[in-house]
Symmetry: D3
Subunit: 239 residues, 6 copies
C-alpha cells in the first residue's frame, strides 16, 4: 500500500528550518514539515512566575495557536469566543513539559523563556513540528544569553525533537500528514532526547485499542524519525 | 524501600465504588481510590453536538473539575478567573477520548451522554479514578437506556479502566498517591480495555527522560492495576 | 391536606450533618435535609480582602454552586457560560451576610474564612441548608484555630440556622421540598440566632402578594424550624 | 435625635418623577428621591425568553446598573472586569420579581418588557427608587400598548412601590439616605401593592439581629412610605 | 434642498451644556446637541497607569458607552456579551487622544483624570458631542484642582471642540442628525483647537470616495461649527 | 535632515507582495513594507451576518492581530486577557470600511469574505500595509469566485491602497517606520482609490495640532505613496 504522497512507511516529509525568521525575538525559526509551517519564537523576559519567585531558578513555558486560516476551512479566533481552544491548551502544555525536561533552571537563572508556536499552515503533525522547532528557538535564545554574558553556562542538557506516528489501515507509519491522520486508528506523539530516551509518549487509540506489539512498532518509528530531526537541528545550531 | 503507606510496588490503594450516589443522573457513582474521591455522573440528553447532527450517531463527552477545597490548600473557582483550568481541560479531553473508544455510536443513536467527574477530595490519580468511575456510570446509563427500551442493544463493546504508574526514587510503582506523585521522575497514565489492549498511554519524563526498558516495566504495572480494577467494575455492574 | 411526603405542616425533613466530610478543610460537613445534600467546607486563609487590610480585623465570605447534575435535568457549568449563575450570586451573598452577623472580626484577627457550599443533590431549601451547614463548618474551623492557639477567644457570638417556609395552596408550611416549592405562592427564607432573633428575613410573593397576618404565620414556622436545627448543630459541635 | 437632613422618622425625602425623560423607550421616567436619581426605561420587544416560547404569555425583566461616577468615588465599569457586579445582579433580580407580581402575562401576550434602571446619582435607596420608578415606566409602556391596540386589556393588576427602612442608633427610620444607611444596624427593603399587601420583604441584620417587635415597626414605616409613593405614581399616571 | 429639521447647511443644532449635572464628579456636565444627550463626568484619581509610574506626569483617558435604550431599538448591554462594543472602543480612543492633545502632563502631576461619556439619548454626533462636553468637564476638574491648591498652574493649553460633517445627497452639511447620518455618502469628524488648528480629522467615504475639493468644503464647515462651540464652552467656563 | 534609513521624504520603503503565501485561503499574500510583514488571508464563506440575511447582498469584513513577538518586546495574547486589544479593534474596523468602499455587494451575492490580517513583524505602518495587502487578497478571492463561475461579474469597482504619512521634526514624511512614528507630532493614515479619490483620511495631532497647510502637504505625500502602491498591486494582479 502506497502512502498518499509516495513516502516510505518510515520516511519523514521534507523538513526545513529557517533561522532568524522574525527579527525581534531572542530566538526565532520557521519550521516546515511538508506543508505544515510553524513560526517558533523564543522570548526571554527578566521575570518568573510567582511559584519561582526568589528561587534563583528560571522557567520555560509555551503558547500554541493557529492562524484562523491555517486550515482548510476558517476557524473563529479564540478571542471572539473568549476561550482558548481546548486542543491548543493541551498542546501548549505538552510543548512546555517537553522543553522543560532538558533545561537546568539553576543555570538559566531567575528569568523566563516563552516559546510562541504559531501555526501559519497546518497539514498534520503541528504539535510535534512545534516542539522540534521550539527547541531550536530555545537553543538560539540560550546561545544569545551565553554570548551576551547574561548566563555563564549553556542551560540545555540535551536535544529535544518530536514526531507523530500512527496506524493507518493497520500499517504503522511515520510522520502522518493531515489526510493520513484523519484515517488513523491509533495516533501517537513521541518526544525524545538525542540520547535515545523518551521525554513524552502519548498514544491514543480512539478508533481502536492497540496491542503492546503495535506500541513497540510505533516507538521504533519514533526513534527513526527523531534521529533524522536531531541531524537537522544540529546542522542549524552549528554543533 | 517501603512505600509511604506500606503498599507493595504493584499494589493498588483500597478501592470502593458506590453505585447510585446521586439520585437524578442516569448513571452515578462515587469512586474512592485511597483518599481520592470523585463523583462521576452520567447524563443522557436527547441531542448531539453540531458535527453529529442528522448522522444517526450519538456522542460521549466528559467534564472534569475539582471542588475548591479538594486539595490541601484552597483553589479559586474557574468562574472567578473566567477561565477553565488548563489541567482540567487536558484531563477532560483524556476522559472523553478514553470512553469513546468503546462506544458504538450507531447503537447509541442520536443522543449524547455527558460524564461529569467532580473531584471532592484529591490524593493523586484523580484522572485515572475519574476514567474508571466514569466508565461505570456510563455503563449504568446504558443499562438504563436498554432497560427502558430507548436503545435495542448495549452500545459498549468492552470495559475501560485506568491507573497511574510512575518512577519514584528509580523504582517503578503502581497507583501513586499525591505524596509519591510529587516526587516522581516519570509519571504515566495508562488506560486499558479488559482484553488487555491499550486505549491511551501518556508518559511524561518532565524530571528525567526514561528508557524503553522503564517504559515496559511501567506498562506491566499498568496491566496489573487495571486487571484488578476490571474486577471491581464487574462486581458493581453485575456481570 | 396531606403533604407530599406525609409530614406535618410544621415538621422538618430528616436532617443529618456529617462532620469532617472532606479531610483537608479547617471545617467540613455534609448536610442533608431530606434529599438535599450540600458539602460545606470552611477554608482559613491568612489574608484579607483589600478593604480590611491593616484593620486588625478578619472577614468571612461564602461561595455557593451546584454540581451540573444536582438537579433533575443537567445544567451547563458556569465556566462554560463565562458567567456565575445569577441565582448563585444572590444566594452566596445571603450566606455570607448571615454568617458575618455573628462573627467578632477583631477576635478573628486579620485572616479570612471562606465557606464553600457545593450542592451535590438538590431537593429544595438548598440555600437554607447551606447556611445551617456552613455555620457548623465555620464553627469547626474556629474551634481549630482556638485549639491551635492561633486565636485567643472563640470569635462567634451565637448560633445561626436557616429554614425555608412558604404558602402552598393557601397553607403555610415549614421546610419546603422542591415539589412544594415549585407550587408555592409565597416563598420565604428565615435566618435566625439561637436567641430567637432574626438575622435575615426574605419573603417573596411573586405569585401573589401576602398579608401581614400570613407573614406572622410564616415567621412562627421559621422559629419552630430553626429551634430544631439549633439542637442538631449543638449536638454536632459538642455544646 | 434629629435626622441628618432634618426629616421626621417617618418622612420620605422629596420625590420627583419626570415622565418621558428619554424619547425612544415605550415608557421612560427619571425618578429622584432626594439626591438619588435613576433613569427607568421600559422597552417592549416582540419576543420572549425560551421558557415562554409558544406559551401565549409574556415576560417582564429588569436590568440595574450604575454609572461609574454615580457615587462619591469612581467605580470601574462591569465590562472592564468582565463581570456583572454582584450587588447589581441581586438588585435586578429583586426589581424583576417585584414587577412581575402584578403582571397578567396572558393579557400581555407573547412579548417582553425590559426595565432598564440606570442610576446616574446614588444617595441611598437606589433599589427601591428603581422599583418605584420602573413601575411607572412599565405602566406607561402598557398604556401605550393598549392605546395602539397591541393588547386588548391593561395587563397590570395593581400598583407597586418600594421603600427602604432601617434601624439607626436603635431608632427605626423611613427612607434612609446613604449616610444613614452606612450606619444602620438593620436594613430592610419593603415592596408593597396599593392594596397594602407585601410583595417582597428583605430585612438584614448584618450588624445586629433584630426582634419581631422591631420587624413590626419597620413594616409599619414601610406602609407609611409606600402609601405616599402610590400617591405620586397615581398623579403621574393620571389615575 | 431643505434639511430634515429646517436648518441651514452650515447651522448647528441647538446646543446646551448644563454644568454640575451630577454632584460627585470633580467635573460634570450634560451636553445636549439637538436630541443627542451625553453625560460627561470627569473623575480625578491620585494614581496613574503603569507606563506613567514615577514619571512625574499625569494621564487623561476616556470611556464611552450608551445606555441600552439611548437608541430607537434597545441594545444589549456590553456586560451581557462580555465584550466592549467595537464602535465604543474606537470612539473612546478618539476622545482620549483629542483631550490629551491640550494637556500639559507635567503640570497636571502624577494623577489621572478619567472622562466618562455616557450617552443617554442618541441622535447622531454622539462622539463629537462627547468630546465637546468632556472638554468642559475636564476643564472644570482642572479648575477645581487649581482652586484647591493641588496643582499650581492650569494644565490645559487650549480649548477642544468637535463636530461632525458629511455629504448627504451630494451636499456638504454641518452637524448631522441620525437621519442625515444614515444617508451620508461621506462622514467626517473634526476636532479642533480654538486657535483654528486640527487635532483630529477622520473622514470616511464608505458609501463613496471623496475628492480633495469635497474634503476642503467639509473642513470649512468643521471650522464654522467648532467656532460656535468654543463660544458656548467659554460662556460656561467663565472665560 | 536625513531619514533614519536614508530615504527621501517622499520615498516608500521597499515593498514586496508574495502571492499564494498560505495554500488554503481563497486569496493569500504576504505583504512586506520594509521590515513590516503582514499575512493577509481572504476567506470566502457562504453565509452573511444577520443584518444582510435574505438581502441578496454579501459582506466584507476584516480581523487584525499581531503575533506576540511581532514587536520589540513580547505582548501578552488577547485571549489571556479575555479582551481584544483596543488598538486592534480600531484598526480592523478601518480595514473593513476601507475595503467595503469598493465592493458591489449585489454582485458579490449573499456570501461573505473575511480578511485576516496577521502581523508577524511590525516596524510601523502595519495598518496601511494590511489594507494594501488585504486588497490584493480580496481581489484574488474574487478572481477565483469569478473563474469558478460562483459569481458572474467582478465585484470590485476600483483598487484600494493605503499609506501612513506624518510630521517628524516639523518635516512631512511618507511611509513612517516605527522609529519615525514614535517621534511624530502628527500621524496620518490615508486610504485612496486608484482614481485619486479618498476613502479614508485619519489624521491625529496627539503631540501637537496641525494647520490646514500641513494637512495639504500630508495629503500630497499620501497621493504619491498610494500611486506607487497601486503599481505594485497591478503587477501582482496581472492587470
Amino acid at each position: 500500500m502506497a502512502r498518499i504522497d509516495g513516502r516510505q512507511k518510515d520516511e519523514l516529509r521534507p523538513i526545513k528550518i529557517t533561522k532568524d525568521f522574525i527579527q525581534y525575538p531572542e530566538g526565532s525559526v520557521l519550521i516546515e514539515m511538508g506543508n505544515t509551517k510553524v513560526i517558533c519564537n523564543a522570548s526571554v523576559e527578566e521575570r518568573v512566575p510567582l511559584f519561582k519567585k526568589d528561587s534563583g531558578e528560571g522557567w520555560v513555558t509555551a503558547e500554541y495557536a493557529m492562524l484562523p486560516r491555517a486550515t482548510l476551512t476558517r476557524s473563529n479566533r479564540d478571542i471572539n469566543k473568549l476561550k482558548k481552544n481546548n486542543r491548543s491548551v493541551e498542546i501548549q502544555r505538552l510543548i512546555g513539559r517537553a522543553l522543560r525536561s532538558v533545561v537546568d533552571f539553576k543555570v538559566l537563572g531567575e528569568r523566563s523563556i516563552t516559546l510562541d508556536c504559531d501555526v501559519i499552515q497546518a497539514d498534520g503533525g503541528t504539535r510535534t513540528a512545534a516542539i522540534t522547532g521550539a527547541y531550536v528557538s530555545l537553543s538560539l535564545a540560550c546561545q544569545s544569553l551565553l554570548k551576551n554574558g547574561v548566563i555563564k553556562k549553556f542551560p540545555l542538557n540535551g536535544y529535544v525533537a518530536a514526531v507523530s506516528v500512527g496506524i493507518v489501515n493497520k500499517v504503522p507509519l511515520l510522520d502522518l500528514c493531515y489526510e493520513e491522520d484523519s484515517h488513523a486508528a491509533v495516533d501517537m506523539n513521541i518526544v525524545m532526547t538525542d540520547k535515545g530516551e523518551f521525554i513524552e509518549v502519548q498514544g491514543t487509540g480512539e478508533e481502536a485499542p492497540f496491542t503492546k506489539k503495535q506500541l513497540e512498532q510505533l516507538l521504533e518509528l519514533g526513534e527513526i524519525g527523531t534521529k533524522a530531526l536531531f541531524q537537522v537541528q544540529k546542522n542549524i545550531l552549528g554543533d
